[in-house]
């Protein structure tokens, strides 16, 4: 491919894909429904959306806009165009009982109890994310509200809190992030990767670029006639098609309420007043120290917090198998570890070479990465607190839903006997009636140590799947019917 074609147009990408906007410590997320499609389109056509191009000095405010599938329809986007998006996006996070079972949205997490995103009239059309430097949010919010008031009604305005990179339970958060391959250095092919790397193809997060399989994720590709002004980028893989997905991403948002008091009360009860044990148990559940260091040794010196794998902790003695961060990112390669010669590779490819119980149960983490962009909320005395979890990805099913379902909600993850994620688990008994509310910690001297009777610490209060379009796509969507 030519050099020019390979380049990435940061001006066309919403900034959230590239930046966490850490310096914009104030943020709020508006969940809107379209009241007047024409007025809504008029605002979207000119809304000052922030791009991924670096600005010097950095801006004092930022705005990002994303749509649910219902939102695209309400906006008047043609049905066959909407249908070009992925099935998960079209169905939505709270679509049906099957999805709820997969995601662990059961019991107290049931979408029926959600504050937003569950019932049809509480399903947002548009998400407007506003960020500002300290003290700047109120004015920015007022400006934006005044602009978009005509077209939208507000379901909710989700406030956030700046907790200085520490999530409400008290752990440094947001450390593990994929290193997005903005330079497109990663080869576009479909070869087995024998080492875990944090570098991840751009196409895992942005539509219109090759993903880890060396393929383009499906997205709406339009006949040139649908885009007579050629306002959309052309598709890399179909030069004659306008690519509505290019430079866009799916944005998953979940409001996760955290019971901070309940968390520490439970741990205090288990530790019986031993301050060292208290800290140790909490850190075992998370998989990091409160300051964010991994529990396993051997991290690369240039990346002490994130440059590690679990290869040297195969027995889970340092970091329990069920620890939150080991579940959400098991950090393994395409083949189980072994010698790099051809024979060894073939033996492992056929599934032989180890009789270890956990051999090869989890593989190919690189297809299940999430780019996290969440913000904490609440936290003042007596106030509800938690995380507005936000993640970006090009394939909701293979990324967010897989990680949430198979790895976090799954009670048999990595040969565990039946326990959900120690932080996120819903604690409901399994289909066999057996409890899932334990947390086991392998011990060097005997049977696993186990905490049992974990209460639910995190409750889902809302959620939806959004499409975060590229900026040219956003403008296209704002003037569709004519």
């Amino acid at each position: 491919m030519a050099e020019a074609a390979m380049s990435v147009d940061h001006e066309d990408i919403q900034g959230l894909v590239r930046f966490g906007y850490r310096h914009l410590t104030q943020a709020c997320f508006l969940l809107l429904r379209i009241r007047d499609a024409e007025a809504a389109r008029a605002w979207l056509a000119t809304a000052p959306v922030s791009s991924a191009a670096a600005r010097k000095p950095p801006p004092s405010t930022a705005m990002q806009i994303a749509f649910t599938s219902a939102g695209l329809r309400a906006l008047g986007v043609a049905e066959d165009t909407v249908d070009g998006f992925s099935a998960e996006f079209l169905a939505g996070m709270s679509s049906d009982a099957g999805r709820a079972r997969r995601l662990g949205d059961l019991g107290a997490n049931d979408p029926r109890h959600w504050q937003w995103g569950g019932a049809a009239d509480r399903l947002p059309h548009v998400l407007v994310m506003l960020y500002a430097v300290p003290g700047g949010l109120d004015a920015w919010l007022q400006t934006v509200r005044a602009q978009c008031d005509a077209g939208f009604e507000q379901i909710a305005s989700l406030a956030t809190s700046d907790m200085d990179g520490v999530e409400p339970f008290g752990f440094v958060d947001g450390i593990s992030q994929p290193n997005v391959d903005w330079e497109r250095q990663r080869a576009v092919d479909d070869e087995e990767r024998l080492d875990y790397t944090n570098l991840s193809c751009l196409g895992e997060y942005l539509l219109g670029y090759p993903n880890e399989y060396g393929a383009y994720t499906d997205r709406p590709l339009l006949d040139a006639a649908r885009d007579p002004a050629a306002s959309l980028p052309r598709a890399e893989d179909h030069a004659d098609k306008a690519d509505l997905g290019r430079n866009g991403s799916y944005l998953v948002m979940r409001q996760l309420q955290q019971d901070v008091e309940g968390f520490w009360r439970f741990i205090d009860g288990q530790a019986g007043g031993d301050a060292g044990l208290r800290k140790k148990l909490a850190e075992a559940m998370v998989g990091r120290t409160m300051a964010g260091e991994p529990l396993v040794p051997g991290a690369r010196p240039d990346d002490p917090l994130n440059g590690f794998t679990y290869e040297r902790d195969a027995d889970g003695l340092r970091c329990p198998f069920g620890a939150h961060i080991r579940r959400s990112n098991p950090r393994n390669a395409d083949l189980p570890p072994g010698a790099s010669n051809l024979i060894s590779r073939m033996v492992r490819t056929l599934g032989f070479g180890s009789s270890a119980r956990r051999n090869d149960l989890i593989a190919s983490t690189r297809f299940h990465r999430l780019l996290r962009r969440g913000r904490e909320y609440g936290g003042a005395a007596g106030e509800e607190t938690g995380l507005h979890f936000v993640c970006l990805g090009a394939n909701i099913a293979r990324q967010f839903e897989f990680v949430q379902g198979a790895w976090l909600a799954g009670t048999k993850f990595d040969a565990l006997a039946g326990e959900g994620d120690p932080l996120l688990g819903h604690r409901l008994p399994g289909p066999d009636g057996l409890p899932t509310d334990g947390f086991s910690m392998p011990a060097a001297t005997g049977p696993d140590r186990c905490l049992s009777g974990l209460p639910q610490f995190v409750t889902v209060r809302g959620g939806a799947y959004f499409f975060l379009p590229g900026i040219r796509a956003l403008r296209y969507l704002s003037k569709v019917p004519s």
Binding site: Y213, G351, R357, A406, T411, G430, P447
Partner: protein
């Protein structure tokens, strides 16, 4: 050791009877996707040798794919398939079904063509039992009784172990002696039963050995011919691979949702899929040859906990239908559908391609094993598009996954070991 076997009773549904049949099958469930093991038609739970069983209506939706490319669409019946996996011979299992639930089975199969009230039901079922071209068993010889007894053993031992984080560590050897003594007491009281494995049937052992030797021997004898033929086959293969149409439209959302409604009620799920073999003699022969090889591999190479790198398949079957123009694939696996498919793509795409690339419309392969299922989305659309809802699906050990079964087997083996080193004791205690 008791080997496992399979039955696949497939019978064409009589015209106009399908809606009634579906209703009847639904009555065997307490809710969609959740079978009632004591249902009046066929109380699955009453059969102690039965691992899995399913009823599925095999519609022919993907036969229409042929028409998309202007190919003739053979008229094929809509079948009711009743299939399952059991310990010991399938004939004996079917006979037991007929004996204990003959009326229910008769009610079900009366919706099919050709079952007359005067027919002997067992004979009729045997007549309609299709051979499994290639069966896969995760652990050959592991019986339902064994699975249940070992699970009970694990639960008893596990609840006995002190895991409190404040307790000091106990001496492993002493702990094991105490646990073993505890189990012995429970055994004496009849609360824990560990039935010793039955002797392996002599006939099966002989057949198995002959099969193990026979196929490589035949391959060796035919080696000169194979060497001559191989280039021809490869040239033909490449020609077909380049020309074969690919057809992987995204499946209808409503159809997928219907299947998802049946899924994820247990850590295990069922998969039933059907599709036409690519037209022409080349693919027809190739798929037969490959299934012979797959069957060989399943029987003699795998069968100890993993199929290639996939460790989550309990049972799988490939069955020819309609004069080998169609292949039925049915499996029982752990995890959700999406993770099953990701496992397939990331771990054994080459193996899937070997077989399924002979299915009409499969994503394009190169040299039989490259590409194909690695075309992630096309593959995912293809397999969902060919999947059919499994109306009734029974599992004899709800809640248990293969990692559970494997752990419980190791616990039992460790319990029965007379002498253990300190390291072995420690490893055994970690299983509890």
């Amino acid at each position: 050791m008791t080997p496992q076997s399979h039955f696949v009773v497939a019978a064409a549904i009589a015209p106009g009877r399908e809606p009634g049949l579906r209703k009847l099958l639904a009555s065997m469930n307490t809710a969609p996707g959740i079978v009632d093991p004591a249902n009046v038609l066929l109380p699955f739970g009453a059969f102690p040798r039965l691992h899995y069983a399913r009823f599925a209506v095999l519609g022919d939706a993907t036969m229409a794919d042929l028409e998309v490319f202007g190919l003739p669409r053979p008229r094929v019946p809509i079948y009711l398939v009743f299939m399952g996996d059991c310990d010991g011979p399938a004939e004996a299992q079917l006979a037991e079904f007929v004996q204990r639930a003959g009326d229910g089975l008769r009610r079900i199969f009366s919706h099919c063509k050709g079952l007359d009230v005067r027919d002997d039901l067992l004979e009729w079922l045997m007549e309609h039992d299709r051979p499994v071209a290639a069966p896969y068993v995760n652990w050959i010889g592991r019986t339902v009784v064994q699975i249940r007894e070992e699970s009970a053993l694990q639960r008893a031992l596990s609840s006995r172990v002190v895991r409190d984080v404040n307790e000091p560590a106990a001496d492993p050897q002493r702990l094991r002696r105490e646990l073993v003594a505890f189990v012995r007491t429970e055994q004496a009281a009849g609360r824990i039963v560990l039935t010793p494995p039955a002797p392996t049937p002599l006939g099966w052992r002989i057949r198995n050995t002959l099969h193990a030797i026979g196929l490589p021997l035949a391959a060796l004898l035919l080696l000169p011919l194979e060497i001559v033929l191989l280039p021809v086959v490869l040239v033909l293969l490449r020609r077909h691979e380049k020309r074969d149409p690919e057809y992987c439209p995204r499946p209808r959302a409503a159809a997928v949702r219907e299947m998802q409604q049946l899924e994820d009620h247990d850590p295990s799920n069922s998969f039933t899929a059907l599709g036409p073999v690519k037209p022409g003699l080349f693919r027809r022969w190739l798929v037969q040859l490959l299934l012979v090889l797959i069957a060989y591999a399943c029987r003699h190479v795998f069968g100890r906990g993993h199929l290639g790198r996939v460790r989550t398949i309990h049972f799988a079957h490939w069955v020819f239908l309609d004069d080998k123009t169609r292949v039925l694939f049915a499996s029982s696996y752990d995890g959700s559908h999406e993770s099953y498919m990701d496992d397939f793509i990331n771990k054994v795409a080459w193996g899937l391609n070997l077989i399924f690339s002979n299915g009409f419309g499969w994503p394009r392969t190169d040299w039989l094993i490259k590409g194909g299922a690695r075309h992630e989305l096309r593959f995912k659309y293809y397999q969902r598009g060919h999947q059919l809802p499994t109306q009734v699906w029974y599992k004899a050990y709800p809640g248990l996954t293969l990692t559970d079964l494997d752990r419980n087997r190791r616990i039992r083996e460790g319990f029965e070991d007379v002498e253990m080193s300190d390291a072995q004791v420690l490893a055994w205690l970690k299983l509890l």
